[in-house]
């Protein structure tokens, strides 16, 4: 079968590690003390807001940026001082970056030629790579004659054909429209599974990160604030930033009192999770879809509906409590009933879903 041909038993499974990497541009620290590793065959997303240093970190792994401190290893090899062309990486760029003066086939063959592979052997490899991205028969086209999605597939084929040790992608799908992007996500995932390539994927789109990755590293101001499986980060965010950046969250602030949290207005909120010392301030994060309209729950709060957003499968309610705290509530659209704006409702949630987070 296809996958057999394209992903031989000796598929390169490579471990990538970053040790205490720091980088500053001028006097501005862009990355500080980054230590993380990427398991062989894993798909990791670097997720973070604009300017958080995602691209810089990826470019350090690629070799375009030299870190001020720290080491980078790919497989067993310390590549910190190895130039880009010696690292055997596959890279995809937001702008596709195809060679505009070469045909699709020559684009894909470029990396093979650099490795001294030419002629029939190269042609066969190019054919296989194009087949893998479902572009068989496009070899003679020029990049200009392809759609954005097709160009990005060529870029992927070009990166894969050299059998790289690691696949690095810097927001490769963000130039595509929504439908095409989702289609490409599925393709990318399929190909990554087939080839078993260790993949690092930069994005600031949380949905994309959740869909694709088996591990997410959230960056903020040049630091990794939390890394782990998508579900772990989503269900157990450690910081307010992580809770806000991956998914939506409500925040309630109070002080620790007798194993629970006492809010400003005196309401006591139970949590099933460990709390800091008695009397210290604490913030609880509660996901908007984990709250319900109910009179009987361990935790209750009354709030007035300010705005209703009808989004099809989900109804979003923007609420306000009596002391002015803003809350969000997501309800599945089960039977088409919409609660009216202005109505005061009682919200409830289980102690499991109130997660203490650091600020």
């Amino acid at each position: 079968m296809n996958a057999q041909v394209n992903a031989p038993a000796t598929a390169p499974v490579t471990h990538v590690a970053i040790q205490s990497v720091a980088k500053r541009f001028g006097t501005v620290p862009v990355l500080s003390d980054i230590t993380t590793s990427f398991a062989p065959g894993s798909f990791t997303s670097l997720l973070g807001p604009s300017g958080s240093g995602k691209t810089t970190l990826l470019r350090i792994v690629a070799g375009f940026v030299t870190p001020d401190e720290g080491r980078v290893t790919i497989g067993a090899r310390d590549v910190t001082d190895v130039p880009v062309w010696g690292r055997n990486i596959g890279m995809m760029f937001q702008s596709y970056a195809l060679f505009p003066h070469m045909s699709v086939a020559r684009n894909v063959a470029f990396g093979l030629e650099r490795r001294g592979i030419r002629g029939a052997e190269a042609a066969r490899a190019v054919g296989q790579a194009l087949e893998m991205v479902r572009l068989t028969g496009f070899g003679d086209r020029m990049p200009k004659q392809l759609s954005g999605g097709q160009q990005q597939r060529v870029a992927l084929a070009r990166a894969l054909v050299i059998k790289p040790s690691v696949l690095l992608l810097d927001e490769p799908l963000s130039a595509l429209d929504r439908r095409l992007r989702q289609e490409m996500q599925v393709e990318l995932l399929r190909i990554q599974r087939e080839t078993g390539l260790t993949t690092i994927f930069v994005t600031h789109d949380q949905e994309e990160a959740l869909t694709l990755s088996d591990r997410i590293a959230i960056l903020d101001k040049g630091r990794i604030v939390q890394a782990g499986r998508p579900a772990d980060i989503y269900e157990r965010p450690e910081t307010r930033f992580a809770a806000e950046f991956l998914g939506d969250s409500n925040f309630l602030s109070g002080t620790v009192s007798q194993g629970a949290v006492r809010l400003g207005d005196g309401t006591v909120v139970q949590t099933a999770h460990p709390l800091p010392a008695e009397g210290s301030p604490v913030t609880l994060a509660i996901r908007p879809e984990k709250m319900a309209v109910t009179e009987s729950a361990a935790n209750l709060l009354t709030a007035r509906i300010v705005t209703v957003i009808y989004a099809g499968p989900v109804l979003s309610y923007l609420l306000e409590t009596r002391d002015g705290t803003k809350l969000k509530l997501f309800l599945a659209n089960r039977d088409g009933t919409v609660l009216p704006e202005g109505e005061t409702i009682s919200l409830g949630w289980s102690p499991d879903h109130a997660i203490p987070v650091a600020d």
């Binding site: 375009f64 990486i89 890279m91 760029f93 970056a97 060679f99």
Partner: protein, 293 residues
């Protein structure tokens, strides 16, 4: 018609609008370029400069100059070689300068640097050429430098290399500009993609940068070659006795020999040769630029 959208103000037919827009440009071209050229073209068929009282006759004699005076063939060959060498040297230097400019600087500082590089080239042509005579003559500036380490003279004023040096100095800015414009549009990611696939700098240069900058190199070459083979100032001042080119021969006809018809016919012959060269190479050029533009 029924399917027409909302009717706006009535529009002129397309051809009328196009004509109206192009008319001023073509009228100006006709007045400023074609009329004088046409006059010269007519002159080239006269037997003498039509300035005095004597009657003039039509003749084709001047177009036989290359047959009647075979030494002109040698002059033409030297002129072509001068054009080829100047263009080649300009292409290499201009491309490298533009490349350095594009790859080693950013944003505002890059534009400033470009202006700073081009500025010295915009001195008056005569001043520029004469200052080279000061440098290149015997016991000139170059010799003073040389005398720090050796004896004798290394000045090469009144030689072909001197002419080419002066011409390169004069026409390099065009090549830098056209190459700069071509190189600046190349996406950094394209170069990085090549590197990530294993390309070292010479592969990036040969397989990516030069092919993608080809349109700039070609327009720079045209902008250099054409005026260079018609030039007369540099050959005369820096070439001295060896500085006879078609340009100086033509200039002599207008300023010394007062034989305008011969000057005109030589000019048109030169123009025809240039057009023939471009016609021959245009196929190659088009193929070269097709993928890159």
């Amino acid at each position: 018609m029924a399917l027409r959208g909302p009717v706006g103000p009535r529009r002129l037919p397309d051809w009328m609008a196009t004509t109206a827009l192009l008319l001023p440009a073509y009228a100006w071209l006709t007045l400023a370029v074609f009329l004088p050229l046409l006059t010269m073209f007519v002159f080239s068929f006269l037997n003498k400069t039509p300035m005095g009282q004597a009657p003039v006759e039509f003749t084709l004699r001047h177009y036989r100059a290359f047959i009647d005076q075979p030494y002109l063939l040698g002059v033409a060959w030297n002129t072509l070689m001068m054009g080829v060498w100047t263009t080649l040297i300009c292409a290499v230097l201009g491309f490298l300068a533009a490349l350095a400019l594009v790859r080693c600087s950013f944003g505002r500082s890059r534009e400033m640097l470009l202006v700073l590089i081009l500025l010295p080239f915009w001195t008056n042509g005569l001043v520029r050429v004469f200052s080279w005579t000061m440098v290149l003559r015997e016991n000139g500036f170059l010799d003073s430098l040389w005398h720090l380490v050796g004896d004798g003279s290394v000045g090469f004023l009144y030689s072909r290399p001197a002419i080419i040096l002066g011409l390169v100095h004069g026409y390099l800015p065009y090549m830098i500009l056209t190459c700069y414009i071509a190189l600046v549009t190349i996406d950094d990611a394209v170069i990085e993609a090549a590197q990530s696939l294993g390309a070292r700098w010479w592969t990036v240069l040969g397989s990516i940068l030069i092919p993608l900058a080809l349109p700039g190199l070609i327009s720079g070459a045209v902008l250099t070659f054409v005026p260079v083979i018609g030039s007369f100032m540099e050959p005369r001042i820096l070439g001295g006795p060896v500085g006879m080119t078609l340009g100086t021969v033509i200039e002599d006809q207008f300023t010394q020999a007062f034989n305008w018809p011969l000057g005109a016919s030589l000019s048109f012959t030169l123009l025809a040769v240039v057009l023939a060269i471009f016609a021959t190479f245009s196929g190659v050029l088009r193929r070269g630029t097709a993928g890159a533009s």
